[in-house]
């Protein structure tokens, strides 16, 4: 059962990610991006991170996608303003590079989990801790061990806010 759900979400996230990078129209790409994020959120749920999965939907689909859509509508792009893809030979070369990257990165992963480096039981996931991924655990972790990082995030958002507002507003001072 879990395997089937995993397959569904995996195919969903990969296929829509491929759609994002192959389609031309930004609006279609954004829709595909939502599907990709939703697929990844499902995977997060399977990985016993329900809180993160919900957050993924709220932040990515709720905030980031809306931001993208707003900008697309604001710019109101015409066909000739969009910029398509690189020339075919460049794209093929990039695909080649990416395949190489995947192979280089996958071989160690496969070797790690099937070879002698891990204990036998780690070939599959261990039994999840009952507390893993629930809101209470994450909350305690954030506000005790990572309190400073949490504060730093607020500063980072202030910086991004100042920068974004300054850059996007029309010029006032002469």
């Amino acid at each position: 059962m879990t395997d089937t759900i995993f397959m569904v979400f995996a195919v969903m996230s990969i296929a829509s990610a491929i759609a994002v990078v192959t389609w031309r129209n930004p609006v279609h790409c954004v829709l595909a991006l939502i599907a990709s994020f939703a697929g990844v959120a499902g995977l997060f749920y399977l990985l016993s991170a329900p809180f993160i999965a919900v957050m993924q939907i709220i932040i990515y689909a709720g905030a980031i996608i809306v931001l993208f859509l707003f900008v697309i509508m604001l710019l109101n792009l015409k066909k000739n303003e969009m910029g398509g893809d690189a020339p075919v030979q460049d794209r093929l070369f990039t695909v080649f590079l990416c395949v190489i990257t995947v192979i280089i990165l996958s071989i160690p992963v496969v070797a790690t989990f099937t070879g002698t480096f891990y204990d036998q039981y780690k070939k599959t996931f261990p039994k999840p801790d009952a507390n893993l991924g629930i809101t209470e655990t994450i909350g305690q972790e954030i506000f005790s061990a990572h309190a400073l990082a949490f504060e730093l995030i607020s500063i980072l958002i202030i910086a991004a806010l100042i920068g974004a507002i300054y850059l996007a507003k029309k010029r006032q001072r002469g």
Partner: protein, 100 residues
């Protein structure tokens, strides 16, 4: 099917697809979306390891990443608007005033 190897390979695939998008697309909007896919891939890898180790630290890290990703997209899109005011285009090949 649902095991660490496959989850990690999935995240590597997503990462490579995102990297392809950044390198091969000429539309800056879609390049930004591809960066988001790459960040998502990293988050997936983090959560896979968190599940392996039963460790909530990575969950916190992933939450932070989401906030960072949102902030980054805000700045990136604001910059894009800025560029669009000058160039009337979101084509990255039009960024040719300075030699690359």
């Amino acid at each position: 099917m649902f095991n660490p190897t496959n989850c990690l390979i999935l995240s590597i695939l997503l990462f490579a697809i995102g990297a392809y998008g950044v390198i091969a697309k000429r539309n800056i909007l879609i390049m930004l979306m591809s960066v988001e896919i790459m960040l998502n891939a990293a988050n997936l890898a983090f959560l896979t390891f968190a599940r392996l180790y039963n460790d909530p630290t990575a969950h916190v890290f992933v939450l932070m990443n989401m906030a960072v990703a949102a902030a980054e997209v805000a700045v990136g899109l604001a910059l894009l608007i800025c560029v669009f005011r000058h160039k009337k285009s979101v084509d990255s090949t039009k960024l040719n005033l300075l030699k690359w």
